[in-house]
Amino acid sequence: MAKKKKSAPVGPSALPFERPIEDVRSRLHELESLAQKTTHDLSEELAFYRQRLERLTQEIYADLSPWNRVQVARHPNRPLTSDYIQHLCQDWVELHGDGVFGDDQAMVTGFATIRGHKLLLVGHRKGRDTKDRLACNFGSAHPEGYRKALRKMRLAEHLGLPIVCLVNTPGAYPGVAAEERGQARAIAENIYEMFGLKVPIVVLVIGEGGSGGALGIGVGDRVGMMENAWYSVISPEGCASILWRSAEGKEAAADALHLTAPDLLKLGIIDKVVAEPVGGAHNQAEAAMEEVGQQIANWLDELAKIPLQELLRQRQEKFRRMAMAEESLQALFPPQTRAAESGTDPAEVDSVLEVDPARKLGLPKKPETH
């Protein structure tokens, strides 16, 4: 590699499917450094490689498999809640603790001002470097994290401040202490109480939406997902280890779970897919965060116009309807290949599932964004 990284990350942080992009990028960088040393005019070659880089990134990102998106959602350079706080929030005041037991670092809460909107921000915190990640328990909160969130949300209600929840967790922590302190109850109570909070709530899944741990701060008047985020009842690895009996089934599980933003929009579970810059949020972090800031402001403007009683009624109705069994339930996705029915060996079924997931789902080639 000729030069240090420019705007985009290179090297070990590149995902496997990003390697062709990285190859072009490093060739471009070599050419750029060469251009500085030589008197030859390399502008044509440079333009060629720049265009190629852009087109290749576009192409690869237009055709991501669900598992690829899970990888993007976990990318080490992807903006985290702490980055959004730093980049989008003025007058940030972090508020600590659940008032009873402790101050869970995996959940951050505080007052913030985003584009003129005063609000309470609640978010899962994952941490960037190793020390930070350990302190944040890799984004897996304990019961005190959920109770901290609820305590601050009640304060927001008291002050009439809208609530913005940034979801980014692999799941709530499955540990002895978490169980002893009532992990299930803490999550359930948050879900339950969020239906009654008398202020607007917006929820955005910015990376990983891991099951109940995500939903514990996930009941809102508007729920969105970033284009490359995932949100489901279980992680693909967890699902694979149970249903496929091996972590190897994770790609097939990611397909089967329909955990991507475009799929959940189709299912009516989210209201919006927030577009990410070409090459994912980690490729152009600032642009991605700006888009999020704008979306939050738009939502808050929209919700401010709805009378309170109506807002609460709509919130109730939204979750009542989104998962309501209609008299004739309809398959929203065409059944996947039914190879297993004809007695195909399970190993073959897995390989059948590898074929172009985008086509199999009948999804448009480009992710829908609204």
């Binding site: 339950y192 009654g196 514990g216 949100y231 309501m324 069994a325 309809q330």
Partner: protein
Amino acid sequence: MAFRLRKKKDMPGGLWSKCPSCGKMIYAKELEQNLFVCPECTFHNTISARKRIEITADPGTFVEKFTELQPSDRLGFIDKIPYADKIAKAQEKTGNADACLAGSCRIAGHEVVLAVLDFTFMGGSMGEIVGEKVTRAVELAGERQVPVILFSASGGARMHEGAISLMQMAKTCGALKHFRDGGGFSISVMTNPTTGGVTASFASVCDLTVAEPNALIGFAGPRVIQNTIRQDLPEGFQRSEFLLAKGQVDLIVERSRMRERLGVLLGYAAQPQASFQG
């Protein structure tokens, strides 16, 4: 599942079954007469939703509702076997449409709406139909201004329905919030096992949390926890008595006294009924 009632195939004629807890051979008829509680060690075997209703509701009072609700494979989910086939198999095995039976009945003379999860149907897992039936049960109780009683026996949310299952947690909690705001009274009874998305939603936000003795109750399953922390789990971890000691359940009631105790609890709720706002 370690504590599921073993098939009585160990002995000819199916007259005896082995207790999964103490290992003693129990005469099948005696076990049934004892409400499937081991007469030797008082282990509470998991029972079907039908059986639960039979031993909990006042005889002849249960009227089943929402039988029109049939599950469907909305995601076209397939692992090794298509989800649609799994549903069909479970339906054939249990004779039920999905893992929840709901309806109205009397318990010790009190009119209630009852919803019971069926562990024998895909581990009592909650998908769209289970969530819908629990929600409708709560709504019906609201309309009739009677208490709602929710019996759980579940491995959690049903993976085969992806985020649709996850949203059942929100839907059921939202219904209970609305019900409570209108003055409703709810009782959750957790039986062996109650874990995952069921514990982390409707089963934990009722006015009272009752547990059967020695039931496994938790958010994560013990195996997941063990794989995460790589240590032995404490004695009695995630069992009813452990949860009681940790302040997570209100009371433990043995199966033989369930109807009578629920009756007493419902008697105390006779007053708040007046506060129903409809």
